[in-house]
């Protein structure tokens, strides 16, 4: 059964859906639903919000299926999710402070202010268990950097593909990934040392 599903390309299933085959959507959903949900869940964190966003992405995809062109279907879904998350981020921006935001008085970025504030600027991260620490560190990244990181790590997407989804150059995506890694490296240094120690012991 899996082979049969794998043998049908996304393009073929989209075409079947356009022709009125209701099972085509079911196959697309079972093929790309888990990856998309994991990505959205990592963006939204709240389960109900992730469910709502996941549903909205698929609704938009169903309504716009005629606009789908010959590309990886998951990339298309990711682009919809990216646009949705940008919309949501704009709505909630007033309540969020990014590490890249500049302080008006000092002219320093929030990240540098946090670092200079004490020996453990991400202390709240360090108090959580490893999974929660990683999630909290990812949440602290600016949206564009987080998206790049998640698409690359969870979905094994190429940087070129991610650039297409975000509508920017490959160099911009590489820079986002690099900044994201540098921040994660800083925030997760305690986790690093713990896991490294464990791995060394093993």
């Amino acid at each position: 059964m899996e082979d049969a599903i794998a043998g049908e390309s996304d393009k073929f299933l989209v075409e079947q859906h356009r022709r009125g085959d209701a099972t085509a959507l079911e196959k697309l959903l079972s093929r790309h639903g888990p990856g998309l949900f994991r990505f959205i869940m990592s963006l939204a964190r709240q389960n109900d919000e992730a469910e709502e966003m996941f549903q909205e992405v698929w609704f938009r995809a169903i309504n716009g299926m005629d606009k789908y062109k010959d590309e990886r279907f998951l990339s298309w879904l990711m682009r919809i999710a990216h646009n949705l998350s940008i919309d949501r981020w704009r709505r909630t921006r007033a309540n969020v402070v990014s590490l890249d935001d500049m302080d008006e008085e000092t002219g320093l970025s929030m990240a540098s202010m946090l670092i200079s504030a004490g020996p453990d600027p991400f202390g709240h991260v360090a108090t959580l268990d490893i999974e929660a620490q990683v999630a909290a560190a990812l949440d602290a990244l600016p949206l564009e950097q987080r998206e790049v990181f998640l698409m690359r790590v969870y979905e094994n997407m190429s940087f070129k593909e991610i650039a297409g989804i975000q509508g920017v150059s490959v160099n911009t995506v590489l820079a986002r990934m690099q900044y994201g890694l540098s921040k994660l490296r800083l925030m997760l240094r305690d986790v690093f040392s713990k896991t490294k120690g464990t791995e060394d012991e093993l």
Binding site: H17, R18, R19, G20, D21, A22, L25, E26, L29, G33, P34, F37, R38, M41, S42, N47, A50, E51, F54, Q55, W58, F59, I62, N63, M65, I130, E131, V134, A135, L138, F149, R152, V153, Y154, N156, M157, S158, F159, K160, N171, L174, A175, M177, Q178, L181, L184, R185, L188, V191, F192, T195, K196
Partner: protein
């Protein structure tokens, strides 16, 4: 190669987007740069951490059902493939028929107009020539004015007149020397000048 570009190339190598010559240059840089080797090791460790911490939750059954219901709603509203296919073919045939009909009509109009123009030309030429032949100068001028299509029509008409005149003279000569087979007895009075035989000789 500096560390900045080396780190970007590390990322491209991890996604399989670095060409072979870039790999060789990166290896040379890594052999010499401890910081970049450290960055690479940390990058791999972060990716492993994030992979481990990936959320494994799935969308709820209700969400999936709502998406599928939406899909069914859209496919039910959409005209069936056979209908759309037939409608498209019919439209194509109708469009083709209209193009052919328009072409035929256009040809007919062009033919009629060209025929009228040619007919008008012939009539005009004939009128001019006939008026010339009749030596009616005013009629010839009028005909030539109305049918000012053939500028040297007068010359042609004059030539015809000349030819006709010569022909008339020649015919007159022939009539005197060679009597026709159906010739009627001539009026003897008119031939009295010859006076070869008396009228009442019998």
């Amino acid at each position: 190669m500096n560390c900045e570009s080396a780190r970007q190339e590390m990322l491209l190598e991890s996604s399989g987007e670095l060409p072979a010559d870039g790999k060789a240059a990166l290896q040379r840089h890594l052999a010499e740069c401890g910081d970049c080797r450290g960055f690479m090791a940390d990058m791999k460790a972060i990716v492993r951490l994030v992979e481990r911490a990936a959320p494994d939750s799935m969308p709820s059954h209700d969400t999936i059902e709502q998406i599928l219901a939406k899909g069914r709603l859209v496919t039910d509203r959409r005209p069936s493939y056979i209908f759309t296919f037939t409608a498209r073919r019919l439209l194509a045939v109708a469009a083709g028929f209209m193009v052919v009909a328009a072409g035929v009509s256009l040809l007919a109009v062009v033919h009629t107009r060209l025929g009228s123009a040619a007919h008008g030309l012939r009539v005009s030429q004939m009128g001019t020539i006939m008026a010339m032949v009749a030596e009616d100068e005013s009629a010839a001028a009028e005909a030539a004015a109305h049918g000012d299509i053939y500028p040297d029509m007068r010359a042609l008409a004059a030539h015809i007149l000349q030819v006709e005149g010569l022909a008339a003279e020649e015919q007159a000569d022939n009539e005197e020397t060679i009597p026709g087979e159906d010739e009627q007895p001539r009026d003897l009075q008119s031939r009295s000048t010859s006076g070869s035989q008396p009228a009442e000789c019998a």
